[in-house]
């Protein structure tokens, strides 16, 4: 089990890719803090599902965009657990709109959760990981950062920011054996992508070389790989998990 004895924080853990990441990490022995803003009923369902897993899952409610809440949560976890090995910044939202009609609220909300939220957690875990002389951070980017859809300027901007944050932080923390990478999922079957998938319909499977929509578990396995010692020589990378969608061409 790759994460036996280790601790992990996963934001946006109640649903979608974050939920799948928690299942993967807990099944491999990690003690996981599931962090989400929303009502933790869904989280309780996951905890019940994983009650016999090798690792443990503990739910915490926090707004990732609130720096004080994040700092307090991470400080409390470090005090309790004495180590933080893995951070997965999976919390993310969409609030689509064409630029001409996008509101400040739509823009700022997406930046606050997707980008600032990741920054808040990255900053907060720097101290525990530096003290431990080891850590792995996996940020959730998106192929939308480089191959955006119309109406997603805010989302694309936030994920492009994640790419820059990932690379800069990787360089900064490498000397302390803290690796920072990102995964860039393509079209994954989650609640967040339901609207887009509904609009594009069956066409999508035709243009994806692997001929299927991705599952959250497809991404979670890559997240776990990047968080593990199997990726000990990988840092500063953004790894696309998209079934080949970004290859383009014919």
């Amino acid at each position: 089990m790759r994460f036996e004895g280790q601790t992990a924080i996963v934001t946006g853990g109640s649903r979608g890719i974050g939920r799948a990441c928690i299942k993967q990490l807990a099944s491999e022995g990690a003690r996981v803090a599931l962090v989400d803003l929303c009502d933790l009923e869904e989280a309780q369902g996951l905890i019940e599902e994983l009650k016999d897993a090798p690792g443990q899952v503990h739910p915490y409610q926090a707004d990732v965009s609130d720096a004080d809440q994040v700092r307090k949560l991470v400080d409390d976890l470090f005090e309790q657990w004495e180590r933080i090995d893995v951070l997965v910044n999976s919390a993310g939202i969409v609030k689509d709109g064409l630029m001409g009609t996008m509101t400040d609220e739509q823009w700022q909300a997406v930046i606050n959760v997707n980008l600032t939220g990741s920054y808040n957690f990255c900053r907060a875990v720097t101290q525990p990981m530096m003290m431990n002389r080891k850590g792995a951070i996996v940020n959730m980017s998106s192929t939308g950062a480089e191959f955006p859809s119309r109406g997603q300027a805010n989302y694309a901007a936030s994920k492009g920011g994640i790419n820059g944050l990932t690379k800069a932080l990787a360089k900064e923390l490498a000397s302390r054996n803290i690796r920072v990478n990102a995964v860039a999922p393509g079209m994954i079957e989650t609640g967040m992508s339901a609207a887009v998938r509904g609009l594009v319909g069956p066409k999508l499977k035709e243009i994806i070389p692997l001929k299927r929509i991705g599952q959250p578990e497809d991404v979670a396995r890559v997240v776990a790989f990047l968080a593990s010692d199997d990726a000990a020589y990988i840092t500063g990378q953004v790894l696309r998990v998209d079934g080949g969608l970004s290859l383009g061409g014919y």
Partner: protein, 130 residues
């Protein structure tokens, strides 16, 4: 209540862990950058370890005033200005800035802060016995 000797030992341990230097290299006169090779990421690591060792909080910039040395208000043409020197004196009453002030080249600041300065700083943060 730690003694001054115990403060030095904790500072030494933090520097050994953060910088990977040998204990023997950490003398009171050793400068953090010039002698012990500390870089900016090391300063953060050192502060974290000192906070834990002494169970205190050290506001960023209080021990290592990097923000002054990179602030356009305090630095001009590679040298710290009068305003910058005043700010350094205010922030670092535990350090001897006399030599540096004669020719305050930013790049030479690394030879200012010594291990003894750090101990003096911490003695202002925790009560010590002799």
């Amino acid at each position: 209540m730690p003694t001054k000797e115990e403060v030095f030992e904790k500072v030494r341990d933090a520097l050994v862990e953060a910088l990977g230097v040998d204990e023997e290299e950490v003398t009171p006169e050793a400068t953090l950058v010039g002698d012990l090779g500390a870089e900016s990421i090391d300063f953060l690591d050192i502060v974290f370890r000192l906070e834990k060792a002494f169970d205190i909080k050290i506001p960023r910039g209080e021990l290592f005033p990097e923000d002054v040395l990179t602030n356009a208000d305090y630095v001009a043409d590679g040298k710290v200005t009068e305003m910058g020197l005043a700010e350094l004196r205010k922030r670092m009453p535990f350090a001897n800035l006399d030599e540096f002030e004669k020719n305050p080249v930013v790049q030479d600041f690394g030879n200012v802060l010594t291990v003894a300065d750090m101990c003096r700083f911490l003695e202002t943060k925790v009560e010590v016995t002799d």
